[in-house]
Symmetry: C2
Amino acid sequence: MSAGWFRRRFLPGDPLPAPRTPGPRASPVPYRRPRFLRGSGSSPGAADASRRPDARPVRSPARGRSLPWNAGYAEIINAEKSEFNEDQAACGKLCIRRCEFGAEDDQEWLTLCPEEFLTGHYWALFDGHGGPAAAILAANTLHSCLRRQLEAVVEGLVATQPPMHLSGRCICPSDPQFVEEKGIRAEDLVIGALESAFQECDEVIGRELEASSQVGGCTALVAVSLQGKLYVANAGDSRAILVRRDEVRLLSSEFTPETERQRIQQLAFVYPELLAGEFTRLEFPRRLKGDDLGQKVLFRDHHMSGWSYKRVEKADLKYPLIHGQGRQARLLGTLAVSRGLGDHQLRVLDTNIQLKPFLLSIPQVTVLDVDQLELQEEDVIVMATDGLWDVLSNEQVAWLVRSFLPGNREDPHRFSELAKMLIHSTQRKDGPTGEGQVSYDDVSVFVIPLHSQGQGSSGH
Amino acid sequence: MSAGWFRRRFLPGDPLPAPRTPGPRASPVPYRRPRFLRGSGSSPGAADASRRPDARPVRSPARGRSLPWNAGYAEIINAEKSEFNEDQAACGKLCIRRCEFGAEDDQEWLTLCPEEFLTGHYWALFDGHGGPAAAILAANTLHSCLRRQLEAVVEGLVATQPPMHLSGRCICPSDPQFVEEKGIRAEDLVIGALESAFQECDEVIGRELEASSQVGGCTALVAVSLQGKLYVANAGDSRAILVRRDEVRLLSSEFTPETERQRIQQLAFVYPELLAGEFTRLEFPRRLKGDDLGQKVLFRDHHMSGWSYKRVEKADLKYPLIHGQGRQARLLGTLAVSRGLGDHQLRVLDTNIQLKPFLLSIPQVTVLDVDQLELQEEDVIVMATDGLWDVLSNEQVAWLVRSFLPGNREDPHRFSELAKMLIHSTQRKDGPTGEGQVSYDDVSVFVIPLHSQGQGSSGH
């Protein structure tokens, strides 16, 4: 990505890139559910669902079909918010080939790479908006992007420490020392590969949607196991947590207009034309109106964690760059998330103002050193889209996990049963936590057991 | 600060602001040491200092002079790095007047503000570079800026919850609810006042240095006690820690080109002209050279926490935006810190490239709820410039504090004695921690006892 790219891409005053030569118009991305649900049954959405007009089925993989690490999965479609379930899921084995060595690489280096393949596993959830297309493309594509990015650095991954040069040949005698001083480890290459893969997938989605004249975007939450570590990459408002007997640990953070306020305001500060004079970048407790003019009101700007007062001017009455509170917070009045894939064509209604410059496709990556945990049989990771977390807290989910697993040790499909039970808990006010709200959103859940670590992937 | 300010101030292609009408040339800022050192003695820099040619005195307040909360202080000048001690310190009582009410304010609101003054205390350290002037100006000015900023919001500070309008009058009936939902508390106003005060002080320093044709910048670390809370605001690489019998807690983070890499690279990404074609924003383990051309080397860009490989092009051979490792890391080859006050005129040697757009004058603020701590007699805060932390770890400082205080309960000046002892420990290889390095930098230390909380400020 060349310097000046940002300006060429997003600023109206600068010359636009030459339009892509239009190929034959591509056909729209066909709607589908995850492949591993083929042949699956479904159970009613809640214990008393048969009596309710809005009963929706909870779907999970067919008994007999097992997912990597014997993980469980379940999903439910939203309550008529959209025709399609805008969540998507994918999982599978990740086979990373060693790249072919060119003439430039010496033979000694080859011996550092003893295996022809590195294998890992991959689980991913995508929560779409503005249509199901972006999430479907992400589910079809992101794992390939990741495999490609990992293959491009595989020699660094299998070395004790990533070499300064991918050929393994030092140009300076002190090259290993520089890498050592920066503290660069193999896991930093996996993090870098995940960051690049999200970006590459975002570009693919942009091209494909443009070619098929479709729109939309999606969040992405990905767990990857590789070389004894588990990487959780998140862009959006899905969430992954580790649940153990004595511990609940967050493995991701949400990226919303509220959590990324300062980054978003900062961009509007250095490039005010991105708001086209239609929005104010300042935050106020509520939208201001004429009566507030001349008064001193609470506000904060891009550089502030705290609050202060300012005298209200006319420009402060514009619609706020970030508006609303909690689940209602919106970026430019339009989007509830500030990171994700797609949305290349998304503009504020009736304006030419683009959302994309404020959105990041880059995930935050958390590393869990699974080999260092003293794993117990019922340690699991729960990954779910926001439909689950809107109505259940981390502690409530942990309580449900700990209540369910001990009584279901014999069932080979117990992790999918647990995922279904978690979804059922989002559908009933009298849920097991006793104070439930009901989720009307799409909900998708993976439950990944850590103890077996792949032993279950060949089925039971 | 109007929209577009950033561009007008920093970008060469845009029209420059009209030059300030030159007033009578101001005289240079006179060099001085902190006022509270008047009449102080000094002790040799180390136990064996008399035998060493570089013996430097450790200075602390005269016995009989007490600082707010009976805090201790000591300082030592650097080992001939500069003629002057570039560190500065300030402390004192902070009297915040209630603003006069205008006709717009109703009488009911007055009863919410029962005291004519709010009083607090203030301790500050400034570590200068490029000459002592900026640090002296900051020591002379920042507390006044802070008082002014706090006075501007004092009605909000003394209310149960800051009102939406500074007049206290709701324009919407639901105004209090909006403030409640945002979770805005009185302490957010103090944080906002600290953020604004740093910015205001930075502007004052810029004007004063320009008027007297001087240059330079400084870091700023400030502790403020107010209404039972202690606020620590930091811009730069000084540090404050809380030391208790069973706990060592960081109260600040350092801001250096390394810790703020992504923010700095991001700015160079959206405004490449800030580098004038002379620097590369990419990070490599070492500076690249001709032999690296065409090779794939480790790198990371603004959006990456991890590392990846890229094929080296000619542009990658430019000097890196951030170069060097640890204490040697420099922004644009010039500065070791990425936040602070001043440096308005600072440019990269022999170029027109400004440092200021990459520097932030905004502090990060940590709040310690002192009233909620179960304070013990020897709980203290240690604030010091980087000269101390370069050679002593937090744990070593905590060990020294815990070793010193119990044996010195009777000495009313024990906290200054402790500060002196900490500085002595930076001057001897055989220091009490047994593995000491020697600091050749300026070192300044405040030790603030929390238990007495002002009872000692009238002296013993």
